[in-house]
């Protein structure tokens, strides 16, 4: 961790490919949260994806090339922040092991120490304890796997959500069980993925909340896509949208039905 400096913290935003392509709102919500917390935010144009599709498919060469490219693009920042536990986990936990024994090893280690997932960065590093926004309605929160088990993200989003005026958190059963997304898993094994997400949407529906939140767009698109196919009225958003008070835009897929 860097020493506290009087000048504003320079954050490089790792947008993540899904947010870049499918839901830029999450990126702008992340920028707002970071700026409100006193950071200056920059977005290096040399970023693409964290490399998980290659890494988790056994393609180490492409994954390592993408890792080196990402490290080079973000090395100059005090912090690297991503609105995704999965991508942040890749940058923080897996780049060092991927680049171990190469000339990038030391750089990957140093880089790893500066990488954070958005919500845990706000709470654990910047000491944010509340957000000055309101949300009229009930939400339920899904703990995405990598964020939960690789980075220990569980209390932080709930802490900030509890400070949102008018918001009621209705916990679902088994919020810590996988939604069945798993990156390329969901298209390689669609039937198994479907069986798992069906269990998840059943838990979501029983929670009885109007909105489903999580910190990873991949999981959110999976759950939203299933909920929509099932005709559910539950709206789906990234947790950053609610925390930034930016829910004026339609929910994922343009709102419930």
């Amino acid at each position: 961790m860097k020493e506290e400096s009087p000048s504003p913290k320079r954050v490089g935003l790792f947008v993540t490919c899904l947010v870049d392509l499918f839901r830029p709102s999450v990126g702008f919500a992340s920028v707002k949260l970071l700026e409100d917390a006193g950071c200056t935010v920059e977005v290096p144009m040399a970023q693409t994806c964290c490399g998980q599709p290659a890494y988790n498919s056994g393609d180490k060469n492409d994954a390592a090339a993408i890792a080196r490219q990402t490290i080079e693009a973000f090395e100059e920042f005090d912090y690297v922040v991503a609105p995704s536990g999965s991508c942040a986990g890749m940058l923080k936990k897996h780049y060092p092991s991927l680049l171990k024994g190469t000339s990038f090893e030391a750089r990957a280690e140093a880089f790893s120490g500066r990488v954070h997932e958005l919500v845990s960065f706000l709470v654990d590093v910047l000491g944010v304890t509340s957000v000055p926004v309101s949300h009229d309605g009930s939400v339920t929160y899904h703990d995405s796997c990598s964020g939960l088990r690789e980075l220990g993200i569980q209390k932080q989003p709930r802490q900030l959500l509890s400070s949102v005026d008018g918001l009621e958190l209705k916990e679902m059963q088994n919020s810590d069980v996988c939604c069945g997304f798993g990156g390329t898993f969901c298209v390689k094994y669609p039937d198994i993925s479907n069986k798992i997400v069906e269990e998840k949407t059943a838990s979501i529906e029983s929670a009885g909340a109007g909105t489903l939140l999580a910190g990873d767009l991949g999981c959110l698109m999976n759950m939203a896509g299933k909920l929509h196919r099932q005709g559910s009225k539950v709206e789906v958003r990234h947790v950053a949208e609610v925390l930034a008070g930016m829910t004026e835009k339609p929910a994922i897929g343009g709102g419930g039905r």
Binding site: V15, C17, V19, D20, L21, F22, R23, P24, S25, G27, F28, V43, M45, T48, P53, A54, Y55, N56, S57, G58, D59, K60, D62, A65, I66, Q69, C145, S146, R149, D176, V177, C178, G180, G182, G183, F185, C186, V187, K188, Y189, P190, D191, I192, S193, N194, K195, I196, V197, E199, M221, A224, G225, K226, H228, R229, K249, P250, I252, G253, G254
Partner: protein
């Protein structure tokens, strides 16, 4: 057992459509997860115990040759015999030779995954020796001609109505009007049928949860007491165990026992923890006349020192599969060989080859729940990824997958080209969705849209919008 893992996808689909199976799995997952959590929550030092259990196994594997030789010396000193078996065939033959020498017609068996691994029952039957499974779950699946679907609950895939049907079909000598509606009545009937078998058997075969190097003792952990009867009543006791079961001392075994049952069934300890050391001594009240240990390698020694080394810490508690969303969805049989769930997805390719078991390490979301509950802290997702790397290196993935990945990587490694391509494709895709904002189907996205809708991209990419914002800022600054 013949490997059916190449048919994983097909078997998984069938399993998902099987209502009986889904009903059984639904009950099982709630039970195991809740019980483990209760046991672990009640023991504040559980995580420290995990670390120390892991350290014991790590140390043992570091010096596996020394501990195995020490163990062998102690077994011999206590009057037993050790048979080293490099392959499954060697192990089967060693069992058969002992049975033949004793003129054995019937063998009773305690629950043992290693004898499943070497497909012992089929072999013995072909050679004219009748194996009788005495663990209730194993007995049930033997009646059905099935294999275990779970390493500690072999009949986990069944509901009690199915068992009742099997008992009525096979136990025709019993009154047809008897009540078999309760689990207890089923257990009572199995016990009644099995009891005389122990006395008829010439040989009793068990596995081992631990082999103790300092004493030459083998330990089995059971809940039904059938293991004890299997190993004490017949004239000959054969222990079939794989080489990684050895630990240095009794103290080490008792440390690991503290995490084993808690992780498996949520019990503090299993009902029986049975120690056997050598054959019956002159002043012992009971016990076998001969005590044999068959030590199976079957590919394990070639895992030592590789990226799969840590898999050899596994103590077969089943916690990984009990917490696995994929296992819950498809059950154990879909995996197509002896070991299902996350531990099977790592071990099966090691033992039978990744060319045959390639689906298994791929069929994981990498949710990491298995590793988080593994009492031996085995990095199961990491090792599944290593298998994917081996497959990729050998070009074993399907061509379409490799092409798709290569296409994507080409752009992902060229940020400027990637920007250009996505800034054209995304607004187009967004426009295609029209007012619905959802795709119900899309070319090349069938895997996704078969079961769920795809939300359309909002509009332009974040990067496009961000660049506009930055340019706007600069212009405002310049004005």
């Amino acid at each position: 057992m013949e490997i059916q893992s190449p048919q994983f996808k097909h078997k998984a689909r069938k399993a998902i459509a099987d209502e009986q199976l889904q009903r059984a799995m639904g009950k099982a997952k709630i039970g195991f997860v809740g019980k483990r959590k209760k046991a672990v929550d009640a023991l504040p030092e559980f995580d420290e115990l995990r670390s120390s259990a892991r350290a014991i196994k790590d140390h043992t594997l570091e010096h596996l040759d020394l501990y195995l030789e020490a163990y062998e010396r102690k077994v011999i000193a206590s009057g037993g015999r050790v048979h080293w078996a490099e392959t499954a065939q060697d192990a089967r033959q060693a069992v058969l030779d002992i049975c033949r020498a004793a003129g054995a017609r019937t063998v009773t068996k305690g629950k043992s995954m290693i004898t499943e691994e070497i497909a012992l029952n089929d072999f013995l039957e072909k050679e004219g020796v009748r194996p009788v499974e005495t663990d209730l779950g194993e007995y049930i699946i033997q009646l059905r001609g099935e294999h275990p679907s779970h390493i500690i609950g072999p009949a986990l895939h069944l509901n009690k109505e199915q068992v009742e049907e099997d008992f009525r079909r096979v136990h025709t000598e019993l009154p047809p009007a008897r009540d078999l509606s309760q689990p207890e009545s089923l257990l009572g009937e199995a016990r009644h049928i099995l009891r005389p078998q122990y006395f008829q058997a010439d040989v009793g075969i068990t596995g081992a949860n631990f082999l103790i190097a300092e004493t030459g003792t083998s330990i089995i952990v059971t809940n039904e007491g059938n293991g004890d009867l299997t190993q004490t009543l017949p004239r000959i006791h054969i222990v079939v165990a794989s080489i990684e079961k050895v630990v240095p001392t009794l103290e080490d075994a008792s440390q690991i026992l503290r995490v084993l049952a808690r992780s498996a069934t949520g019990q503090d300890m299993s009902v029986y923890t049975t120690f056997s050391t050598g054959p019956r001594r002159p002043d012992d009240p009971d016990g076998p006349d001969e005590y044999h240990v068959i030590l199976l390698d079957n590919g394990r020694s070639s895992m030592l020192g590789t990226e799969f080394h840590e898999m050899l810490r596994c103590i077969r508690c089943g916690a990984c599969m009990n917490h696995c969303p994929v296992y819950h969805a498809v059950g154990g049989h879909a995996y197509g060989w002896v070991y299902p769930g996350p531990m099977g997805s790592v071990l099966t390719p090691s033992l039978v080859g990744v060319d045959k078991a390639g689906h298994l390490p791929n069929a994981s979301t990498f949710c990491g729940r298995c590793e988080s509950v593994c009492p031996m802290q085995i990095p199961l997702p990491r090792m599944m990824r290593h298998w994917r790397e081996r497959e990729f290196e050998r070009g074993l993935n399907p061509a379409t997958q490799r092409f798709g990945l290569g296409f994507w990587a080409f752009f992902a490694r060229r940020p400027k080209l990637y920007r250009l391509a996505t800034s054209m494709a995304i607004p187009t895709l967004s426009g295609l969705a029209g007012r619905a904002r959802w795709f119900r189907s899309l070319p090349f996205a069938g895997g996704w849209t078969r079961h769920r809708d795809l939300p359309a991209p909002e509009s332009r990419t974040f990067m496009q919008q961000w660049r506009d914002r930055e340019v706007g800022k600069q212009e405002r600054g310049a004005a």
